[in-house]
């Protein structure tokens, strides 16, 4: 398996809730809408979704409550059995796993963090973190060692013997994170991990999360209803509505080229300049490269604002980290992103 094969690949996945979903899906005329399906007595939790998640990539699934984002992620780990389509994890169709196979997969490959933490109230921090290790039968000493290691990683040293109720929300979620990392999973699911926290803590936890991700480089599926959070963290964003993915793209593209009215409505209030990077606006060098100092491809337009306003050139060269020229950016186009188009 090469790095280019996706870690999670799902094709035409359906998840219907109702009395006899499999039969209904088989008989259903194609192209039925969410509301029509509901009128038939079924709820389309996930509606014909196909996405892939690459190795080391962070896919953020964004949507309002009831949009099916949590359902989709639960299909990835087969907490829900899907009604139609296939989901492959590392090339293995998880729908075909028997109970033991499924347990093995969860024990070795996956970790998950929950919105309300899902901590076991009768266990100490240490025992909560060691829980997945205990489930797979690791011996007491080993799991203690490993649990202490992860607890340290999330910055909860000294609280090992506390019970969940003795901790603040942020600390509890750190326990949740530590638990999900204890088995060193390849794939990390996070279901609105910071939604239950107050804004200041949320920000702090996001930073902490980015730091961890930089260190660990996991494949991540991250769920949120907070568009800012999605933009801040994501490699790619999948926006869901009524069980279907409206658009799945990089943050820059979503902001610059919303493909449905629904997505557009989300992006309206967003300060685009904070999201769009110079590299996205860079067009291939057509003819000669413009003169002068290049702008950095990895900077956002907002970071370049001063320069954009002061610079008199029509076209600005864009260079990557190593200083290689990757293209030119039209100043007017960039200013439009920064200030909004004149209408």
């Amino acid at each position: 398996m090469s790095d280019s094969t996706p870690v999670i690949s799902c094709k035409n996945v359906w998840k219907l809730f109702g009395p006899n979903p499999k039969q209904y899906l088989a008989d259903m005329a194609p192209g039925r809408s969410f509301d029509e399906i509901r009128a038939d007595g079924y709820i389309a939790g996930v509606k014909d979704v196909s996405v892939e998640v690459g190795r080391g990539e962070m896919l953020v699934i964004m949507g309002l409550s009831g949009s099916g984002k949590s359902t989709l992620v639960r299909c990835f780990s087969r907490l829900h059995d899907i009604t139609g389509g296939t989901i492959e994890v590392d090339g293995q169709d998880i729908g075909e796993l028997d109970e033991n196979g499924l347990i093995e997969m969860r024990r070795n490959k996956m970790g998950m963090v929950f919105q309300s933490f899902g901590l076991l109230p009768h266990r100490t921090v240490l025992d909560n973190v060691a829980f997945p290790l205990e489930m797979r039968g690791q011996d007491r000493h080993d799991r203690r060692e490993r649990a202490l290691e992860v607890i340290k990683l999330v910055g909860l040293e000294g609280r090992e013997e506390y019970f969940p109720r003795e901790l603040s929300g942020g600390q509890q979620q750190r326990v949740g994170i530590a638990r999900s990392l204890a088995i060193e999973p390849d794939i990390w699911f996070l279901d609105e991990p910071f939604s239950a926290l107050d804004p200041l803590i949320r920000r702090e936890m996001q930073d902490e999360f980015l730091r961890l991700q930089e260190m660990l480089g996991k494949t991540i599926v991250f769920i949120t209803h907070d568009f800012d959070e999605a933009l801040r963290l994501a490699d790619r964003i999948a926006i869901m509505k009524d069980g279907a993915v409206e658009q799945c793209d990089t943050p820059d593209q979503i902001v610059l080229n919303p493909q449905t009215p629904y997505v557009e409505k989300f992006t309206e209030e967003i300060e685009k300049s904070r999201v769009v990077h110079a590299r996205v606006l860079a067009n291939p060098v057509n003819g000669t490269a413009p003169e002068g100092e290049p702008v950095r491809a990895g900077h956002t337009i907002l970071q370049l604002a001063r320069q954009l306003v002061n610079d008199a050139r029509e076209e600005l060269p864009v260079a990557n980290k190593k200083g290689e020229l990757i293209g030119v950016m039209n100043r007017q186009e960039a200013l439009d992103v920064l200030l909004g188009k004149d209408t």
């Binding site: 639960r74 780990s77 907490l79 347990i103 093995e104 969860r106 024990r107 070795n108 996956m110 970790g111 998950m112 929950f114 919105q115 309300s116 933490f117 899902g118 901590l119 076991l120 109230p121 009768h122 266990r123 100490t124 829980f131 997945p132 205990e134 489930m135 797979r136 090992e160 013997e161 506390y162 019970f163 109720r165 003795e166 949740g176 638990r179 999900s180 088995i183 699911f189």
Partner: protein, 658 residues
């Protein structure tokens, strides 16, 4: 309340519900008024119509269960083998019965010391005092041996009820069909009079502690099943998913995720198991359970009021202690120790308990009073109390008041009411019950009411059933006049709430048998005594739920009333009481259930109802009759239960309180 009930049912097609109720009541009235000209079969079912249910049941038990299937051999084996062994084990440790392991009895001071340590662990000094004090009292009044006889059976019955209830609860949670199958069974078990399973317990499990343990176990199982299933259902889905994502197998899910997470509800179940076990202490004495209950009955039969009162106090103390301890255990959450704390400090309570136990065990070898308190050394005040009670009853004012009450209630209220109920023709009576169920609960309860009461009519015990119902209704109405005002008064302040609730707890755990004698002495063997002794019991839930309902009215609502300038009276009548009503209805329902329970015990005063017949069957082997009688009580109780609980639920939903 009328419009409340009708509004809810407006979606029923056809006639408006209120009209249906009016029609049914009207028809019942016509039938009643026309009684003199009615054909006989409309007044009471003719004997020839009544199927010989009891004979069929007898055949079922004697020929099918016992002779053909030989179930009794299996149960007998269980009773004489494992059960007798377990009972022998606890009985040896606690009271020194001559059984394996031949080490007991433990000195009373050891038990008291351990109870004090457990009390301290659960709730500090006050609980330590309660735990130690209960056992010191028991030893000091000279009841140690009989108390230990009781506890040695409970120590087997309660865990048995716990495990069976837990397993059944898990099954009910796991399999829907099991849940559906077991629910009606539990409902019947909770309403059927205890006398009904005393007799089978004797036949299948041998008279004595074994039958006592089994009857107690059966009685205590239902809440454990319900609480376990409830707790498991309530485990948060995220915890479940976290468990699954950790790669738990099914077994690991159950033992390491579900059951520990349902701890609170399971422990509440344990609390209820213990309380129900204690409620059976006296009743099981009828089938040979030794201990406090048996002694109490013997004392009552030789008219020793003081001594039986002392036994009652012991039962209350043990009950309050176990109740408080187990409730404290529910809310007791583990505390963490800093890392590196030594083993002894981590387990300081265990160490203290062991040290206390061993210390008193050693001391008791030399100081005999710490081992056993002999009859001559005990501080029983039986005789003095007898004199006190008799002295009180001899006061002229007391006699004047009770004499007047007896006359007024008997001659002007109770006996006319009873005669009126008995005058109503059977079909009219059923119609009235059904219209009540329909008006209050809706269609479903009405159908149940019709079915259940028709069965009662065909059981051949109609008049006795009506008399039973008459006692229940009279008592519940009377206790409403006491319980609700008392609850309203108490709910006004925290202090009084606590006091009255404590009183409720005590009244509820005090063995009802003990009330009977003073009640008879006050009012003689008459209907007043029967009704009043039920009232003592039924007032408790009415008071308790009135307090609870009023105190749980959301704060904003009373504040809104205050800001609207409501007087205290207006606030109570138009805000608090309407909102508390669904909760009070639960209390009302419980009062009816308690009344059905107590009316059977009241047979010991002297009645002409089902209880009296049930008491008679105890002496014989009429399993069939016993079951028919018990079924009648259960069916009547279930009718009310279904109706009122249905109403309370709908009402709660309508008020957005659920």
């Amino acid at each position: 309340m009328a419009d409340i009930a009708t509004k809810i049912d407006t979606d029923t097609p056809g006639l408006p519900p209120m009209r249906i109720v009016q029609l049914m009541v009207g028809l019942a009235l016509v039938l009643t008024l026309a009684r003199p000209v009615l054909p006989d079969f409309l007044v009471r079912l003719p004997e020839s119509w009544i199927p010989p249910l009891a004979d069929w049941l007898d055949y079922f038990f004697n020929v099918i269960v016992i002779e053909t299937l030989r179930i009794n051999e299996l149960t007998r084996w269980f009773a004489e083998g494992p059960l007798d062994f377990m009972l022998g084990f606890t009985a040896n440790l606690l009271e020194g019965k001559h059984r394996w392991p031949f080490v007991g009895p433990l000195p009373w001071s050891c038990v008291a010391a351990v109870a004090a340590v457990i009390g301290y662990y659960l709730g500090g000094w006050r609980f330590a005092l309660l735990g130690g004090g209960t056992f010191v009292w028991t030893a000091m009044v000279g009841q140690w041996k009989i108390a230990m006889q009781t506890l040695s059976v409970l120590a087997v019955a309660a865990p048995l009820a716990f495990f069976i209830g837990l397993l059944m609860g898990i099954a009910a949670w796991k399999w829907n069909w099991f849940d559906r199958a077991v629910k009606p069974f539990l409902a019947i078990l909770q309403t059927i009079p205890f006398f009904t399973y005393l007799l089978p317990a004797v036949i299948f499990f041998k008279v004595g502690p074994t039958a006592g343990a089994i009857a107690t176990t059966i009685y205590a199982i239902p809440p454990m099943v319900l609480m376990t299933a409830l707790g498991l259902k309530k485990v948060s889905p995220e915890i479940v998913e976290a468990g699954k994502m950790s790669g738990s197998t099914r077994w690991q899910m159950l033992t390491k995720v579900y059951i520990p997470s349902a701890r609170t509800e399971i422990l509440v179940g344990v609390n209820q198991v213990i309380m129900l076990c204690l409620a059976m202490v006296v009743l099981t004495a009828f089938i040979g359970m030794p201990g406090l209950g048996g002694k109490l009955l013997a004392m009552m039969n030789s008219f020793k009021l003081g001594r039986s009162f002392e036994i009652g106090v012991t039962i209350v103390l043990v009950a309050v202690m176990l109740d408080r301890f187990s409730k404290a255990w529910v809310v007791k959450l583990p505390e963490h120790h800093e890392r590196g704390t030594s083993w002894f400090v981590r387990h300081k309570y265990l160490v203290a308990a062991v040290v206390g136990f061993v210390a008193f065990l050693l001391i008791a070898q030399f100081v005999e009073i710490l081992d056993k308190v002999g009859r001559r050394q005990s501080l029983s005040m039986g005789k003095e109390m007898d004199a006190l009670i008799k002295g009180f009853l001899a006061i002229d004012a007391v006699q004047a008041i009770t004499g007047w009450m007896r006359y007024f209630l008997n001659v002007w209220v109770l006996i006319p009411f009873r005669n009126a109920l008995l005058y109503i023709p059977t079909p009219a009576f059923i119609l009235l019950v059904v219209s009540f169920a329909y008006w209050l609960g809706g269609k479903r309860p009405a159908i149940f009411a019709a079915t259940f009461f028709t069965i009662v009519a065909f059981s051949g015990w109609w008049d006795r059933s009506v008399i039973t119902l008459y006692s229940v209704i009279s008592a519940v109405i009377l206790s409403m006049f006491i319980g609700i005002p008392l609850g309203i008064f108490a709910s006004r302040s925290e202090k009084w709430s606590t006091r009255i609730l404590l009183l409720c707890d005590t009244a509820q755990t005090f063995p009802s048998f003990i009330y009977l004698l003073p009640a008879i002495m006050l009012f003689g063997v008459s209907d007043v005594t029967v009704v009043l002794s039920i009232v003592i019991f039924t007032t408790v839930p009415l008071t308790r739920y009135t307090i609870e309902g009023l105190r749980n009215v959301p704060g904003e609502m009373t504040e809104a009333a205050d800001m609207s300038g409501a007087t205290k009276r207006q606030k109570l009548l138009s805000v608090q009481l309407p909102l508390a009503l669904p909760t009070m209805a639960v209390g009302f329902n419980q009062a009816i259930m308690f009344a059905f329970f107590m009316v059977i015990i009241a047979a010991f005063i002297g009645t002409q109802d089902l209880g009296q017949e049930l008491q008679r069957t105890l002496a014989g082997t009429d399993l069939g009759k016993n079951f028919v009688l018990g079924m009648n009580v259960a069916l009547m109780a279930l009718t009310f239960d279904l109706t009122i609980m249905n109403w309370a639920q709908k009402r709660k939903k309508a008020l957005g309180l659920s």
